[in-house]
Amino acid sequence: MFRYIVRRLLQMVLTFFGATFIVYALMFAVQDDPIQALVGERPITASQRAALTERYHLGDNFFAQYWYYMKGLLTGDFGTSMTNRKVADMLADAWPVTLRLSLMAIVIAATIAILAGVVSAIRRGSIFDNATLVVTLIVLAMPIVVIAPLAQLVFGIKLGWFPVTAGKDASLWQLLLPAGVLASLVVATELRVTRASVAENLRADYVRTARAKGLTGARVIGVHVLRNSLIPVITLIGVDLGALMSGAIVTEKVFNIPGVGFNLFRGIRTEDGPLVVGFVSVLVIVFLVVNLIVDLLYAALDPRIRYE
């Protein structure tokens, strides 16, 4: 176990430097004139140009610039946006909203996925099972740019069941529809994995033993089967986070929620390069850390897993 953790941490360091390097290289690769982009349309004098070049280390070579960027990331300095606000401050403002939204989405997705997944696994081949398969296929194929505006149109405007937009300091009720939209991105895969792993475990010897001992069906399913079936579902959380992040950009824009995704969207639209790079870097780091935690959790939860 200890060796696994050490190996996983070393891998993480490699992935961390590799991924940030790629993000930085992508940004650096086709750059034309960042100073002109910074000052906009106005002409710029040679001395101003020299000062800006000095300030942003633009005269240095690629690797030196990457080094400054990494130093910033590691010390919590994510750069300054074009509007002259610190990216770190903007993140601190936006983070709580997005965190609440995505936690709600994860809870909604997990509840639906586990309930429906267990039922379809127990009644394989039933109408419910087949209907779930069709619905998950359709949900799987719906891009976020289709789900978010259509959900707003149908449930917010036409039916009036939910608030149409959320805005700042949104209540849980206002966040419910956007959270449901986000949940739809991950619920289909989670449901299918739950169904497959419950169906597999139902045939296991320990389930037969539990039944033979005279345990009730609810206890066999709820305690014995579910506990073992949820392990593969947990590993999905790490992968799902990537989908949630991408989904949050569109969802927060559509529902007007001032979270991380909304800021990123505004940064893209206003061509605010430093803001976009700062936000993307932080999101990539969060993604990597969560995946590391999920992997370690997986190893701790499943005693059968021994990595050598």
């Binding site: 490699l14 590799g18 289709v146």
Partner: protein, 289 residues
């Protein structure tokens, strides 16, 4: 198999596919979208760029069965013409990903050893960047030229970022194939590496690779729409479902049609490719027999 005639895996799969309803629904949808992309004038005689502001948000009249959008353009014509760039970006991005994935997968799977270790670590690193986040940074840079309509930038972006799954699948099928007896037999007969790779291993590893690419095609079409929605995909005079959806979200209270139709076409297209991939995978997967 009750048949006395022996069949290859692919003809067996084809036999299965022919009786699969989902396969036929998906194929018909794909053919319709491809026709729409190639010859949009087959479906509409209206010009999608013929926009008159006085028709803003007008209802369905005459040829415009879906009504008009906020600029007074025919929503039906615009939706039909939107198929072209979706397909162009989707197909070419998938081809780029396919070539990269094929190269990485073949090299890592066939040669193994340190090359495999290096390539697999590189794939791990690529997987550390969620697709859309990488695409935002790259597409923003590539599409800096204001004169371009962004088709090239989006295609290259999605192609360069989306190959990891294809490479992994190729690698594992190559590893499975190279340990088969027929490969050992061919090697004993004196076949060189390239003959082994391209005559024996590759043809037997293609099935799941093609399935992954079919599904990737659907994902790429969805990603193109998402990038266009965010304003870093197609732009300028390009007609795209993503742009249409993005424009329509500002006016949903006034007119829902301009939002609904491109959304439905986009969802149906993505669904068609994913269903097609699913159906082909089921047919090729011997475990489901």
């Amino acid at each position: 198999m009750s048949d006395t005639k022996s069949r290859s895996l692919s003809s067996d799969a084809w036999h299965d596919l022919r009786r699969n309803k989902i396969f036929w629904i998906a194929s018909v949808l794909v053919v319709v979208v491809l026709l729409m992309a190639a010859w949009p004038s087959l479906f509409t005689s209206a010009d999608p760029r013929d926009c008159v502001l006085s028709r803003k948000h007008a209802g369905a009249t005459g040829g415009a069965i879906f009504g008009y959008d906020f600029q007074g353009c025919d929503v039906y014509a615009k939706t039909v013409y939107g198929a072209r760039y979706s397909i162009v970006v989707g197909v070419f991005a998938t081809l780029i990903s396919g070539v990269i994935g094929l190269g990485f997968g073949l090299a890592a799977g066939f040669f193994g050893g340190w090359l495999d270790a290096v390539l697999s670590r590189f794939i791990d690193v690529m997987l550390g960047i969620p697709l859309l986040l990488g695409a935002i940074v790259l597409a923003k840079r590539l599409s800096a030229d204001p004169a371009s309509n962004g088709v090239f930038a989006v295609t290259v972006t999605l192609g360069l970022l989306g190959w990891t799954t294809a490479a992994r699948v190729m690698r594992s099928s190559v590893i499975a194939a190279k340990n088969q007896d027929y490969v050992a037999a061919a090697r004993m007969l004196g076949a060189g590496n390239s003959r082994l790779l391209f005559r024996h291993i590759l043809p037997n590893s293609m099935a799941s690779f093609i399935v992954v690419l079919t599904i990737l095609l659907g994902i790429n079409i969805a990603s193109e729409a998402t990038l266009s929605f965010l304003g870093i995909g197609l732009k300028g005079d390009a007609i795209s479902w993503g742009i249409a959806i993005s424009d329509a979200t500002g006016y949903v209270r006034v007119a829902a049609g301009p939002l609904i139709w491109p959304s439905l076409f986009l969802a149906a297209t993505v669904l068609a490719f994913i269903m097609l991939g699913d159906a082909v995978r089921d047919a090729f997967d011997p475990k489901l027999r």
